[in-house]
Symmetry: D2
Subunit: 338 residues, 4 copies
């Protein structure tokens, strides 16, 4: 039985609390928040839960083997580092840290102590993304041509970070899981419409060593909600619409065919191929339930999680590079080898 402590009971923390409380093999032994009201609400629901507003006390509890952190991003580094140093496994809400330097230090600390450090990139654990990953890795799409995602709605403007840190992180984590290559450069553009605020609309293009191109459009100020990703391959193409209640993924057996031009070795003849569309049945389990089970399993097996610190660091580094490109109106920024 793995003892678990929950840190932060704001928007997301109660979901972590509920899923750990219901997970076989785990027992939630403590919860921590600065707001007494949140602790009281958690206690009312889980009467045996020990609550505290003192993070140090929670992290010192020897019955707690792992902590799940759902606090503002600016606190991730300090809290996760303290937990690791206290010998706890850590699940931390996305993004891993507020800078790639901090993210790297967390990764190294966890590696040194042989502790599991996992980032809560929830979308990776949805049935939809797992199905896409399975299709891509089985070669069903052929060569990857493009990955295009739109994630917009009238959303909460955040004061401390731009919209890339908030929304694009979801897309970057999905891509990091689904695409078997790493981006080499990024060009990003964006704009703030609030005086003194961070960019609330942004467009990112990622370049790879191949002909794959990836693009992400995020926007806090759209009149409609859109969550749609197009993935183009040489064999098949996918439309992933996360707002569809039942057929979130549609696989299109259509595309182009390329043949050598009879008259020219330099030119290809483009043909067009139409075919069926297919929407596979998806695993409907709650993503966070799957994720929590994976975290506990990794602790038990001393294994690296799907969304490990190395991936969390890659994503933070990408966000930093994109923000830098955005400040110079799209000038491409190279991404270092990790």
């Amino acid at each position: 039985m793995i003892g678990v402590g929950i840190v932060g009971l704001g928007y997301w923390g109660p979901n972590l609390l509920r899923n750990f409380a219901e997970a076989p093999g785990a027992q939630v032994r403590g919860a921590c928040d600065l707001a007494a009201g949140r602790l009281a609400a958690a206690s009312a629901r889980y009467p045996r839960l020990r609550t505290t507003c003192d993070f140090a006390a929670l992290v010192a509890d020897p019955e707690i083997d792992a902590v799940a952190i759902a606090t503002p991003v600016s606190t991730h580094f300090e809290l996760a580092m303290a937990a690791l140093r206290a010998g706890k496994h850590v699940l931390v809400e996305k993004p891993l840290a507020a800078s790639s330097g901090d993210a790297a230090r967390l990764r190294d600390e966890a590696a040194r102590r042989r502790l599991v450090l996992m980032v809560d990139h929830t979308f990776v654990y949805t049935g939809a993304v797992r199905k896409i990953a399975a299709l891509v890795s089985a070669g069903e799409l052929g060569d990857l041509y493009y990955y295009d995602s739109v994630r917009v709605n009238l959303g909460l403007f955040q004061h401390d970070v731009n919209v890339i840190w908030d929304l694009a992180v979801h897309d970057l984590s999905i891509m990091d899981h689904v695409i078997p290559m790493r981006p080499r450069a990024v060009s990003a553009t964006g704009m703030s419409h609030v005086a003194g605020g961070h960019e609330n609309i942004a467009y990112l293009t990622l370049f790879f060593d191949t002909h794959l191109i990836a693009h992400i459009h995020v926007n806090w100020l759209a009149p409609v909600k859109i969550r749609r990703t197009l993935i183009g391959g040489s064999q098949r193409m996918i439309v992933y619409d996360d707002l569809e209640p039942s057929e979130k993924i549609k696989v299109y057996d259509k595309g182009i065919t390329l043949n050598s031009h009879p008259d020219s070795v330099y030119q290809m003849l483009v043909g067009y191929r139409a075919g069926d569309m297919w929407a596979p049945q998806l695993d409907g389990a709650e993503a966070l339930k799957t994720e929590v089970a994976h975290f506990l399993d990794c602790i038990g097996r001393q294994a690296a999680p799907l969304t490990d610190a190395a991936g969390g660091l890659r994503i933070v580094a990408l966000v930093e590079a994109a923000s830098k490109s955005m400040a110079s109106r799209g000038r491409p920024v190279e991404l270092d080898e990790a």
Copy 2:
């Protein structure tokens, strides 16, 4: 009665022929194409039509006052220039010419001869775009925040130009008509997935002197057809979906409100405002019919058309700049004052 000659009877030319044939105040006196079969088909439908495969003969016909050119873009300059020099008014399919230099020369020639030179940017004459233009110019949207267009489908790969020349020209012409400012710089990215071919997917960001940002996504290789534009303003926002059969334009009375922060002069408090949605009834007339009537009217009044050569030049210059930026992975390219 204005005598009209049609040049080019491929995909688009027959639509021009039909609309000029039905337009009050015009009489189609001749049509020209290199393919005898196309001429025969036109003759069968319009028995009194004089057809020829000799452009020089058509342009020399003194009964022809105006010519409509619907030929490959590489021929636009030569044909339009010859027609202007023969004293004809000219309607030329988009884009105006294959280079901004050629476009400028056509503009200057028409100006010198006081002839109408109009570009067939058809979308500008749709009921939907005219309604958007009316709403924007009446100030209904407030300050313009962003213009975001997606125009993708499994489309015909063109051998001589990239997808910007083919598809983004539509968006650029709509923007040129709707937005009362001119872009100052462009950052574009894209990729070709056909060896030796031009880019078949592209992303353009346009920067203005204000906080307005515009973005266009065009793709010849998408599994689904999307024709959707989001326009954000400080007061209202528009979703324009050209594939909707009846409610192409939806006006959302929602957005954010900005108030001074009580504790800080540097920070704004963002509030959220929800309201009704409204889909105005649109003029359902065929855009090309409206456009042809406008062309004839401009000839009669010696007036500049809505989609004049200056606008056609601006769009060609934008496409050139975007293609240049795309070649350097998004590096921003400044746009000169016209």
Copy 3:
């Protein structure tokens, strides 16, 4: 402060419990269920809640002024009657009772004792239905022509009742609230696809004294979920799609116009009128919260609720008549004056 007891903690009861627990002016003093596990779960969440598996004990509690009953429909009559006889106000889940005779007896008992007896027809308290009712009663639609509802999905087959008792009751309660006339006859058809089971697909037509016609299609065995109602009037028409996340109601300013035929006094000339569409902003409050507040308010004011026992009886009588018509393949059944 009104003391409340909750009876039945299966699917719907916990929602009643939560809403009464959060309602100003109410205090939940007891809850009753036959399953000890459900009572334990409720206690864990509401530690001060007194729970019992003895309905008689709950109803005898002098601190309880009102009970909310969410048990199987076959038990509604017995439990509600016992509660009324104990002097409690009663909110009972839809439908009011399993027969119109029982429903009438409950109505009479409540009237005799001057107690509030309200049926939990939740949809009546949604922002969408309240907006439709407001539009209709303000005359915005003109004369009512038709009311057409489709409510289908792959739903839970019920063993004890047909699909009309389960799904059509929602539509009948919405119509009872929205339409200012009472149906005079019903024709219904349907079919069972499970040996020995009740009809799982049904179609109801309701006739009125006017030219209004109403039709309801309910189906437990549909591959897709549809929740759509069309309401036609002489002036405007409404589409109410309950699955739309934000624009559930669309008001169309279109229809036909009727003029006398110049040649015949017996014939009308039909014209067609197109206009704008408008989606009003709706109150997004949880319907059950609004409903609970209304129940408490009616108790305080000794007023009749919107969804009173008389309406509950009308709906049960309609379902009985429809089931009778369905057994004879659509033969119309007259509805008695209540």
Copy 4:
């Protein structure tokens, strides 16, 4: 080469003219209409076409082997009978005749003379309906449970017939082709909202010898256009949405499973089965082109067409029975064995 004459050049006739003109193996030798303007338009397009306003002359033309009739339904019997008596094969627009008596007489006359008499039930020749028919006849759906169609929009009110004659005939012809059983009884309801007019909204239920139930909803006065058919079977279910541009047919591998109840021989246990959805690629050929080729082929082979006079008669008889039921508010009307 089969010589063809076209009768009636109103809304639909020009489509027949164009398709016969382009069909291999046919030559359009004449066209007939009472309006000189329509004849002139046809002549302009097809200069060699002989036109006349005298139907008798056209039918007397020995070079004409077959006539296609696209005139008002009240004239179908007289014109088709005259053509048959002149020894011509006949393709007649739907419905076959204005009464089942007339339809039967046409059927008998054609049989006696061994002439092809085909009804222009165009939908039967679409790729979508042909795919549905193939799926049903291959047993892919299992036992048929229900067929439910909605065909509504703001449509042209017809003066001489009710909406069943106009719109439901499409559904009845599709069902006649797709479903391998014949309906035994019909219950229909409807209403007219125009004084002195025929019903503009109608609902039909068809009963069969099995547990299959069919329902059709047609409406000339709906604010939105819907063309959607649900087909439920024991193994799979189909959604056919004719307004979808590309995926008109979706096949759902979901439904219920039935097992004997362990405690009762009279009761079944219902289980639920979810699975993939699949949208087969459809033949996109113009339905009328396929239909015209089939008509010509049947003439050549002396074969009975898919949409023969017997089917045309069945559909007219159904419409008559439905109209009769509608007049008595849904009272079921038995259908005689043909």
